[in-house]
């Protein structure tokens, strides 16, 4: 039997009948996938230019000349997005962690913290980000604060921090809940205090479990920094708008999109990879 299979499949690594069958199956599905993808791409490439408005769209959205002229400026402006992201992210992480811990306190004296945590997450997860940015970004400077303290950079960032900390807190809390109670029992049985149990046993595991989910939140934050443009800060989206008005052309928006994607696609892929790895470890 084995001899026969070997002689049939011929040279070097002899395949069993099942392996040969699976290889045929695999090759067939690859061929089909490639064929159907090619058909769709061809249809788009051939059919879209046939539409009546294509020439106009091409001129105003995919203008190579405008792209080349504005792209360096857009990249410069994007540094502002990165800066805003960089000072918001650590504060969000710390605040989110604190709020998550507030919601886990058991002592009755600290009940106000628990209540605060619950109300906080409910309120800020329940509001559109842009609304919070408007309310805080226009509202607080309206108090008539002196020069450096009325900057939309400060209050816009605060709005992002408040909203995103609420989401991060919920993610961390779900991580805390996901740790089996037997871990707490084991820690308690050794005489560890509740605080030490949280700090050394529960939190390290919880945070690791929700790292991919948190990464997705920070990717969303990177995009939402663009919303600050509505209250003043000149970041890439706003800069693209300036170029658009200047050149009467929409290509700068495409340029901005390209910049965002260059950052967010690798980051999302990496988060997905982490999530996938984790699921495999848990199963």
């Amino acid at each position: 039997m084995t001899d026969q299979t070997r002689s049939q499949s011929g040279s070097a690594p002899a395949l069993t009948r099942r392996q040969a069958y699976e290889q045929r199956l695999r090759r067939r599905s690859i061929t089909i996938a490639a064929g159907s993808t090619l058909a769709v791409v061809l249809a788009v490439v051939l059919l879209v230019p046939l539409s009546r408005g294509w020439d106009a769209v091409k001129r105003s959205f995919f203008n190579g000349e405008v792209f080349a002229k504005t792209f360096p400026g857009l990249l410069d402006a994007f540094l502002m997005n990165v800066a805003i992201f960089l000072w918001c992210a650590p504060i969000i992480a710390v605040l989110g962690l604190l709020i998550a811990l507030f919601r886990d306190v058991r002592s009755p004296a600290l009940y106000p913290l628990r209540l605060f945590g619950a109300i906080y997450t409910d309120v800020f997860r329940g509001l559109p980000v842009i609304l919070v940015i408007y309310l805080i970004g226009f509202g607080v400077p309206g108090l008539g604060l002196p020069r450096p303290w009325n900057s939309p950079y400060i209050w816009g960032s605060l709005a992002l921090i408040l909203v995103y900390a609420a989401y991060v807190a919920e993610v961390i809390r779900s991580g805390i809940d996901s740790i089996h109670h037997s871990q707490r029992a084991a820690a308690a049985s050794l005489g560890l205090s509740d605080g030490d149990t949280m700090r050394y046993v529960v939190l390290p595991q919880a945070i690791r479990n929700v790292a991919p989910a948190n990464m997705n939140l920070f990717i969303a934050l990177q995009k939402d920094v663009a919303l600050l443009s509505f209250i003043g800060p000149v970041e890439v989206f706003r800069q693209a708008g300036v170029y658009k008005s200047l050149l009467a052309n929409f290509t700068p928006y495409v340029g901005a999109a390209v910049i965002f994607l260059a950052l967010t696609i690798p980051a999302t892929r990496y988060a997905d990879y982490l999530m996938h790895k984790q699921r495999r470890r848990q199963s």
Binding site: S182, Q183, A185, A186, A187, A188, S189, L190, G191, L192, S193, D196, Y200, V201, P204, Q205, R208
Partner: protein, 242 residues
């Protein structure tokens, strides 16, 4: 005076009364085995002794002092009573050595340096010297359970509780864990075991208690209880498991 004395301990979960008045006394250096069907209250009783579950009524005396007194801080008492669980419950994000050192560092305030020597000795005593710096998922079930025992021993407890610690192990790994118990027995550790290992209980226990529906139905030295059980329910149970 007995090392540990339980008097009329009762415990319910909602309507389910799991311990219905348990009296048990354990002397220093004694090894007591709790046997009985699943759900007879063995595990709950051990968790109550370690104060992981508050009891509803009765009292638990350790060296004559009531440790079940409501309002008493449980932490220093838990540090004196070690417990090992069926499912090991090691901390998966720490190496074996870190698992063992955490409580002595945080509860007894010892430094990592001061602990290094004694912890190494403990691991070597139980033949795990080579595995100290492995993570739990790199260890076999038997090795993990032995690390869990070492973790409890590192607090230098006066009593050790073992909650069916071989039940989650593959049969070929049970032996190495029972060997650890033999070793502790010979060193004079006071131990209470909830167990299904009847042969082991018969070989080593000073006293065997048969639990049925939350009560100790019958207790005595293993030779008497296994060879000549008085109660029909004990007889029926032993017939099923032996």
């Amino acid at each position: 005076m007995a090392k540990l004395d339980l008097k009329g301990v009762t415990k319910s979960f909602g309507d389910n009364m799991v311990c219905r008045g348990i009296d048990l006394s354990v002397d220093e250096g004694e090894m007591v085995c709790l046997i009985g069907a699943s759900g007879s209250g063995k595990s709950t009783l051990l968790r109550c002794i370690n104060l992981l579950e508050p009891i509803d009524d009765g009292c638990i005396l350790l060296d004559g002092v009531d440790i079940s007194e409501p309002g008493l801080d449980p932490q220093p008492i838990r540090a004196r009573i070690g417990i090992v669980f069926q499912s090991f419950n090691l901390f998966p994000h720490m190496t074996a050595a870190e698992n063992v050192m955490l409580a002595p560092r945080r509860v007894l305030g010892k430094s990592r340096d001061a602990l290094e020597g004694p912890v190494k000795t403990l691991f070597e005593r139980f033949d795990l010297g080579q595995r100290m710096h492995h993570y739990p998922d790199q260890l076999s079930g038997g090795q993990q359970q032995r690390v869990a025992i070492i973790r409890a021993l590192a607090m230098a407890p006066e009593i050790m509780l073992f909650d069916e610690i071989t039940s989650a192990l593959d049969p070929e790994l049970v032996g190495e864990v029972l060997d650890v118990l033999r070793q502790l027995r010979s060193e004079g550790m006071t131990m209470i075991l909830a167990t299904h290992e009847m042969a082991f209980a018969r070989e080593l226990a000073d006293k065997v208690c048969f639990l049925d529906a939350g009560r100790i139905l019958e207790e005595g030295p293993p030779d008497t209880l296994f060879a000549d059980p008085k109660e029909p329910r004990t007889r029926a149970f032993l017939k099923r498991v032996l």
